[in-house]
Symmetry: C2
Subunit: 542 residues, 2 copies
């Protein structure tokens, strides 16, 4: 049986646009004599649709399109499409199987993830049954995303009591099919290959895995669809972070080659962030982005990512030196802009800053407190938003995860922007990205990588005046935010108790800033944003 | 049986602080010879605890406190306390019943709300059984919040298939007990009385309903606990939006008096917002708030609410006139500040604005576009944040729901602040609040109520230049946001199709601004914020 895999990048809510992609892939699959084509989870509406699932106009549109467009297109080919099914006031996350102009079968999702960024129980009811679908003499075991993530032997601890794959195997299937919208985090693609290879090998079945690709808000989908043979070897992997299309003949599987899943490195995070930027802009109708270039490592990395995503001609760098900026910082920003071949404008903030100080300080001269530090960042925020409003640039904010964790950032200042590109990238990983970017040539001036990080909001300021060294801070942030460890556990890892308490206290108390952050592209197991739901107003007893 | 009702205002996460309240109420109930005392849902940790439920340090603290403090305190009195129960890696939302220094019974919550602002399925497993608890010869039917909201006769359409009340009645109970953390929206308290009276009357049982009170982030709990007799009459209602305590003797129920539940009017919204402000500040350790006074209706109402919440001595009004501000606006703001007896500072933005224009406009004079309109709002944002940072004021932002819906507001400008006080109050309801505030004396100058609303960001600007009249806009916003109606349905209500499409389009496209809003106090059935989960990046087909 010839199975076409359509790894597409849908836009949430855009039923017509997504349909157009779907129909063109169906046509292509037919042209290649495929028996069947498989699309990813909820690909007609795009994942995650959130409360759009309740939007009556969109619901109506989905039903019309399925009836009038998708069903007829299945005349000569089987089509497995991920869509929401509406039935008696309930919604199911379904794989619909169309063939010969009819709905042949429907398999709903059994396991509904409702943790981290997922809210599926909010929207969906679980499947009431899981049955193989017989097609062309083959028994297909159709599952949806989470359904495949619950093998009792693979996981030390399972999240659910049932395993749809085990159920299907028990009923007898020939091929495991999984349609997914599995958001990326660093390590996820390797984990997925490892897990799916395990299952294919365990049950001695071919596994065909079709994942969504592209960015939707803070989530980035890596694609990386898979065909795995009965021995657990990867036969084919879809492109990472790009659309792809492939036809596999299950009767003529190529020899299993060595899996390449050990190769997930920082380049994946790099690609992820690029596709996150690209899609955020493209899908909101922006073509140009603006990055405030301080001459520091964070804004340098963001500018490089923006150029890779949008092209140099669509990126504007803005330098906004103050009385506390070092000359080197502005020079480094200029060199970077030159290396990237982007437009660079310099708008000094001194005049506005002194005018503010005159209005706000009785004697007109600075008193050098946090209010004045933040004021400088906010003047810069005003300038970039002015340029955004006037010239149509989307502002990319440049704060990293370590800063956002500690609240070492200014609300309405450097936090301004439509998208937080590296808000889930710890500072130490920002350096990794910078070294990766510079691996072939020196794009980011080396001096930027070597000098101690500074916000330059007062004379001779260094990050390490206010923060622990990042090499110590980042593992504590990971332990607390990603791994949810207790203070005692962190201390037993070797960290100083007072330091741990100080860091945890600061992470807790900066929640009010993060609540007003731009959406943060997720690349770790736990990003600030919808996946971490903390109260702002709360008190911890120490 | 003498039942004490403890309507308390817990702080989320503050196990020690909440425990102190709980122990003092237990003592008080004992002193009044109560047989039993009842606390609200999750009162030891405070509702909603969100991901703090996973915090290992807090989990440990809860277990310690229950063992060492709560259990011993139950020596001579039954204590029903709402706490999370941790069992085999799962969490239950429980009512624990302590008596004679032992855990007598545990009833977990059966119906877990997972819509709007609720995420309970994310955290909790449902109860595996519902049984009456026998105490002092009485059979108590203990239920938790949502458990009581699913009567098949009361509701046209039920959310769940099971009804714990029906189950308990079938098993035989004497008294219905419900512990709740039921967030307020306008109309909720009446609905609750109506619903609970119906159930008490239907089953001919006394109902004792204990609700949380106070504000936690965007949610405001109204208290309004209830004792309802077997005939469905309200015997006692706890204070609205204040802590309360009451002992009812079920053997000596006073005569049922006429229910007062028809009296829920705008004064409830007024009280709700005041308690929302008060708790947001008190629980985060702020005592003083700042309101930017434009001389318009929104900031005037917010200032009045702030004074009621915090006292005049703790509220600072700041007037920031520009070249486009009318003289009347500043005068009106001054009069308001005088009427409220609050400090009022005037910081004109002209100098900073012109300095900005010099930096940003090649020729130095304004071009009057959206960038410059927003710039003025952002300069004001900078000033109030400066005062906040320097002097320790929490900034209350003053945008209303109609503006936030339409994106008629400036990100990092007038949207700046720690708490959005009236972000869920439609403009027409802002006027209702203003009239209510002025009902005894003219606190808000009448001219403010009479003049046409204006942002005063360009000469002779009026809201109605950019927006439909609020009397038409607000019902459309309600129809779309609160009632989730289709465009066709809105048109069939009598609204012009093009107008509906324009409004819906603008609501959809302003999502990116709202995502960066301060938490918005919820007072309607659907507020912008955690209860409405919309993608930013999406496309609708028209």
């Amino acid at each position: 049986m010839k199975i076409a895999i359509a790894q597409i990048n849908p836009t949430v809510g855009d039923i017509e646009g997504n349909l157009e992609k779907i129909l063109s892939k169906i046509k292509k699959a037919e042209d290649l004599s495929s028996d069947i084509i498989i699309f990813s989870e909820l690909s007609l509406i795009g994942y995650p649709p959130r409360d759009l699932l309740y939007n009556p106009d969109i619901v109506k549109k989905i039903k019309e399109v399925l009836r009038d467009k998708v069903t007829p297109a299945s005349q000569n080919i089987g089509v497995i499409l991920g869509v929401p099914s509406y039935e008696e006031g309930k919604i199911y996350n379904s794989a619909l199987f169309f063939y010969e102009g009819k709905l042949l079968a429907r398999q709903d999702k059994t396991l509904l993830p409702n943790y981290d960024v997922f809210d599926e129980v909010r929207y969906f009811k679980p499947a009431r049954f899981t049955h193989p679908v017989v097609f062309n003499g083959k028994r297909l075991g159709i599952t949806i995303c989470e359904d495949i993530w619950n093998d009792k032997d693979y996981w030390d601890r399972r999240l659910y009591d049932v395993d749809p794959i085990e159920d299907l195997i028990f009923q007898g299937i020939d091929i495991i099919i999984n349609i997914s919208a599995s958001p990326y985090h660093y390590g996820k693609r390797n984990l997925r290959i490892d897990m799916l290879s395990y299952i294919a090998k365990k049950y001695k079945k071919i596994a065909v895995y079709v994942n969504q690709v592209g960015g939707n808000d803070e989530l980035i989908f890596d694609g990386s669809s898979l065909v795995i043979d009965e021995g657990g070897c990867v036969i084919w992997e879809g492109k990472n972070f790009e659309e792809d299309f492939y036809v596999i003949d299950t009767e003529d599987i190529p020899a299993g080659k060595e899996s390449n899943h050990l190769k997930e490195d920082i380049s994946f995070v790099h690609k992820a962030l690029i596709s996150g930027i690209r899609d955020y802009l493209a899908k909101t109708g922006f073509s140009r982005a603006l990055v405030a270039l301080s001459g520091g490592i964070d804004s340098s990395v963001v500018a490089c990512l923006a150029v890779s995503a949008l092209g140099a001609e669509n990126v504007l760098g803005v330098g906004m030196p103050s009385r506390y900026s070092s000359k080197e910082s502005l020079i480094d920003a200029e060199i970077l802009a030159k290396n990237l071949d982007i437009e660079f404008r310099v708008i000094p903030i001194e005049k506005v800053f002194s005018t503010f100080l005159e209005s706000l300080n009785p004697r007109g001269y600075p008193v050098m407190d946090i209010a004045e530090e933040n004021l400088q960042a906010r003047i810069r925020g005003n300038i970039i938003m002015f340029l955004s409003n006037r010239e149509g640039y989307l502002v990319l904010s440049t704060g990293n995860k370590s800063e956002l964790a500690m609240g070492y950032c200014t609300l309405y200042g450097d936090m301004s922007g439509g998208l937080s590109v590296i808000g889930d990238v710890p500072k130490t990983m920002v350096y990794e990205l910078a070294r990766f970017i510079n691996s072939e040539e020196e794009i980011i001036p080396n001096r930027i990588l070597l000098k101690p990080p500074s916000a330059e909001l007062r004379p001779d300021q260094k990050d390490e005046d206010s923060l622990p060294p990042y090499s110590i801070l980042d593992p504590i942030i990971k332990a607390y935010v990603e791994d949810n460890l207790s203070v005692d556990s962190m201390v037993s890892m070797g960290f100083d108790r007072n330091l741990v308490i100080d860091v945890v206290r600061r992470i807790d108390s900066a929640e009010y800033k993060r609540r007003q952050s731009a959406p943060i592209l997720k690349v770790t197991t736990k990003a600030f944003g919808t996946g971490r739901r903390m109260p702002i107003v709360w008190r911890r007893n120490w």
